[in-house]
């Protein structure tokens, strides 16, 4: 029972791992290309959740400086700066993959991975 209490105290990390596994299952076992892309997006957002939860502080405020000299507790701003870059990379990967999917449909007539494999083996 001790491990369940520990998993409950670190609940953000647990949810991030579960979402990662849901995304990984979608990529491996579904055969439609758009479904695989949605699974990739779920995996990426789970990693962002993990990273920002590392820097959270209980009772902390958003990292905007107030100008007073009082000792107020701020949330760690460094993981947030790294994740902004990550979100931009995720959206550009999604846009490029969607344009590739449109071209594959125009060229081959299907977007199921198993049918594409059969077409390539039969050629």
């Amino acid at each position: 029972m001790n491990i369940f209490l520990k998993l409950y105290l670190n609940f953000n990390y647990t949810v991030s791992m579960i979402l990662f596994l849901i995304g990984l299952y979608t990529i491996i076992s579904k055969s439609n290309l758009i479904k695989k892309l949605i699974g990739l997006n779920i995996m990426e957002t789970s990693v962002f959740l993990f990273f920002i939860s590392i820097g959270a502080v209980k009772g902390g405020r958003a990292p905007i400086l107030e100008g007073t000299a009082s000792q107020v507790q701020y949330v760690n701003p460094l993981p947030q700066a790294l994740i902004l870059t990550g979100i931009v990379v995720a959206v550009s990967t999604t846009a490029l993959a969607l344009s590739l999917i449109i071209k594959i449909y125009e060229h081959c007539g299907t977007i199921e991975a198993e049918k594409l494999k059969e077409m390539e083996e039969g050629r």
Binding site: K35, V57, P63, V91
Partner: protein
């Protein structure tokens, strides 16, 4: 037992992800994925990251959903 907001939001996130994976209608998957992005934006705000919340709201609900719907309208709507 007091219901804490962040635990409720995170459990909701897992349920939405399961619905997105399970459904066979691709248009429904794209729209529920936009709802996933909205719940993620509220989670960022609860963790004290307003910049990330703004970015995720504008990108997840504004750009990614529209691009998915365009790609679905040019290909199939149902899986298999």
């Amino acid at each position: 037992m007091i219901l804490r907001l962040d635990i409720v939001l995170l459990v909701f996130l897992i349920l939405i992800a399961l619905v997105v994976v399970k459904t066979k209608d691709l248009l429904a998957a794209a729209l529920v994925f936009s709802g996933y992005s909205l719940v993620m934006c509220i989670v960022w705000q609860q963790l004290g990251a307003p910049d990330i919340a703004m970015t995720e709201a504008a990108i997840g609900a504004g750009v990614t959903t529209v691009l998915f719907i365009i790609a679905i309208s040019k290909t199939f709507r149902r899986e298999e």
